[in-house]
């Protein structure tokens, strides 16, 4: 079948809109290679168009290697270029440089992986995460666990303020982690435990993007803890377009009010609680949240603690009293 001219123009527009979404999603870390994209039917509703037009747009993107259409499964963000090689490693120079530097520190290529493993996993490190709402406690904790291999004890700052003693587990922490808003409380707590406080800054891309969109259309957030609702509203208070901000609380508000064409962001905690909502297909999940300086700070902590433990072991000639994996 052939499209009328109108449909061809619409296909072009949808193609470029989708291409833009995928590329900014990847850029912002909201999408990853292999993530599932909205179905043609869902997009057809959103663009008020024929599903066949959307399918044609997806096919055009498939030709460019942006998406992958898997029969009877769905549409996914495609791995670029050679499917055999994960993207980060396509830059061979980077790998070579790393190994070459390693040799200057006495780590030959053959021992590199083992050295890195020891640098990050000799100790099972535990972080006490302090935040003022469940959404942030959850996203900070998940990131520490998944990306840095830490064990985590979650502490609501309300417990600290009410003078309750920290749970025993939290007192065994190797570090206290929080965001800028609670720096003072975290430093205080860390000083009492005699461990470092890591005060993290969040990646501002997401908020900058939301801020940009708020100028011309409503943007939805779905959160779990009403305290985060309040905090989030505070971030945008007085900003241009802040009256466009819509924050819904999962379990309290009706999520079906989110229009099909509005950008909607979901916190990690909310997403974890909504495993199979059709809404999820087109909602943008919160991805990594630490900014690059904070990411490095946590990694510094992990690596220096591990290397210090290794040195200690070498000095004592064995393993003594350390918590190992």
């Amino acid at each position: 079948m052939s499209f009328s001219e109108n449909a061809a123009a619409r296909k072009l527009r949808i193609t470029s809109e989708l291409s833009q979404r995928v590329s900014s999603g990847l850029h912002l870390g909201l999408l990853r290679y292999g993530d599932r994209l909205p179905s043609t039917r869902a997009l057809a509703r959103e663009f008020d168009s024929d599903p066949r037009v959307v399918l044609a747009a997806y096919r055009a993107l498939e030709e460019k290697g942006v998406v992958e259409l898997r029969p009877r499964s769905g549409i996914y963000v495609a791995q670029p270029e050679d499917a055999g090689i994960p993207v980060p490693f396509q830059r061979m120079d980077w790998l070579i440089d790393i190994l070459e530097q390693g040799m200057s520190f006495g780590v030959p290529p053959h021992r590199f992986a083992e050295h890195m493993l020891r640098s990050v996993e000799t100790l099972r490190l535990r972080a006490t995460v302090i935040e003022c709402n469940d959404d942030q406690i959850y996203s900070v904790s998940e990131e520490l666990i998944g990306d840095y291999g830490l064990e985590v004890t979650r502490v609501d700052i309300a417990e600290l303020e009410s003078g309750e003693t920290l749970p025993a587990e939290a007192r065994r922490a190797d570090c206290v982690v929080t965001t800028v808003a609670h720096a003072a409380a975290a430093r205080d707590c860390a000083a009492r435990l005699g461990v470092p406080a890591l005060v993290l800054s969040m990646c501002d891309d997401l908020f900058a993007e939301v801020h940009r969109q708020l100028a011309f259309r409503p943007v939805y957030f779905v959160v779990t803890d009403p305290r985060f609702e309040k905090k989030l509203a505070g971030f945008f208070q007085g900003a241009d377009g802040s009256d466009h901000l819509r924050i819904l609380v999962h379990g309290r508000d009706d999520l079906s009010v989110i229009p099909h064409d509005a950008p909607a962001y979901l916190t990690r905690l909310t997403r974890a609680q909504l495993p199979s909502l059709p809404l999820l297909e087109r909602i943008i999940p919160e991805a990594r949240v630490f900014n690059s300086a904070s990411s490095r700070l946590v990694m510094e902590f992990v690596v220096s603690a591990n290397l210090a433990a290794l040195r200690g072991r070498a000095d004592r000639g064995g393993l003594a009293g350390e918590r190992r994996r």
């Binding site: 990853r32 050679d82 499917a83 055999g84 090689i85 994960p86 993207v87 980060p88 490693f89 061979m92 790998l95 070579i96 070459e100 040799m103 520190f105 006495g106 780590v107 290529p109 053959h110 590199f112 992986a113 050295h115 890195m116 640098s119 990050v120 996993e121 990306d147 840095y148 291999g149 800028v180 808003a181 720096a183 003072a184 430093r187 470092p196 890591l198 005060v199 800054s201 969040m202 501002d204 891309d205 908020f207 900058a208 801020h211 505070g234 971030f235 208070q237 007085g238 900003a239 690059s292 990411s295 490095r296 700070l297 990694m299 510094e300 902590f301 992990v302 690596v303 220096s304 290397l307």
Partner: protein, 309 residues
């Protein structure tokens, strides 16, 4: 009046957090001066200063004398990292920025080094250098390595078995021409490693003021060394000691003495063993880079073949 600083501090705190999240402020950004804020909000400067001090106690801002007010405080954070820790941190942090969680990084990275086990055939004209080349290919780069004498490989007849089973031929620049020809015969990549020159330079320097002894196992390497040091000032003070032929106990106490990897395990003289300078890594940085490129390239190729349906 007493409550005012707290209220102002609250307002500023909200304003800064919002700026932070919108990307308008970063830790280390300069904040409006006391005077500017006082003018903007039409309040007394002392009230503004008190609010800033309040935020400073919370660690949210930093008042630097004669400089200004900055967002965030310099992280008292962690004690300085040692250079190797700094390197490891950089590596894993960059891995994470590319989407690889730290706990997975070593395994993921390793697949680019050890998906295929490569076999190197080291080719030289003497046992000492063959041992050095093979040891380094094995212990530093994880190759399976075997050694062969260049003259034997060049003999007439079909290519020898060890040539055909090698993934890479390794030699030094002395035999680049011969190995290039051998590599062409069996269609294998080859590399003429350049050796680190520090040890030769150091010996040449020492020869200016003293005799130098070098313990080896193969007389052919001894001859090669003599050719290297002959033209050097004091070159007649260079002595090679071939194990099994020469008497190692003739080496005077206190004379600078070097030993090859091949000779070291054979040296029975405990007293001498304690003071000889052992051979370190011998490949230059340029050669290391070439070998690493070849390893990664071969592994990547193998990985992409594996994943192909």
């Amino acid at each position: 009046m007493a409550r005012e600083p707290i209220k102002l501090a609250d307002a500023l705190r909200r304003r800064f957090f919002s700026g932070l999240h919108l990307g308008l402020l970063r830790p280390g950004s300069r904040l409006p001066s006391v005077r500017d804020l006082a003018t903007e909000m039409s309040i007394d400067r002392r009230v503004v200063l008190r609010a800033y001090r309040e935020l400073e106690r919370e660690g949210l801002v930093e008042l630097r004398e004669r400089s200004g007010i900055y967002f965030g405080s310099r992280t008292p954070g962690l004690p300085g990292l040692s250079p190797p820790a700094e390197w490891a941190t950089d590596v894993v942090t960059r891995g994470l920025a590319m989407g690889i969680p730290a706990p997975e990084f070593p395994t993921r990275f390793n697949s680019f080094l050890s998906t295929v086990r490569l076999r190197a055939l080291c080719i030289e004209c003497n046992r000492d250098q063959l041992t050095s080349l093979c040891t380094e290919m094995t212990s530093d780069y994880g190759f399976e390595a075997e050694g062969a004498d260049v003259d034997e490989l060049l003999l007439e007849g079909p290519p020898r078995e060890e040539l055909r089973r090698a993934d890479l031929l390794v030699t030094t620049q002395f035999h680049a021409g011969e190995v290039r020809e051998l590599a062409a015969r069996v269609d294998r990549p080859w590399i003429a490693v350049s050796l680190r020159t520090d040890i030769y330079k150091e010996i040449a320097r020492l020869l200016g003021s003293s005799e130098v002894f070098f313990v080896v196992t193969d007389h052919r390497y001894a001859a090669k060394l003599h050719r290297i040091f002959e033209p050097v000032k004091g070159g007649s003070g260079f002595h090679s000691v071939v194990m099994g032929r020469d008497d190692v106990t003739a080496i005077p106490d206190g004379a600078p003495t070097y030993i090859t990897r091949a000779a070291r395990p054979k040296l029975g003289d405990q007293r001498l063993l304690e003071r000889v300078t052992p051979e370190e890594r011998v490949f230059s940085e340029t050669s290391a880079r070439e070998i690493i490129s070849l390893m990664i390239g071969s592994n990547m190729h193998a990985l992409s073949q594996q994943d192909r349906p």
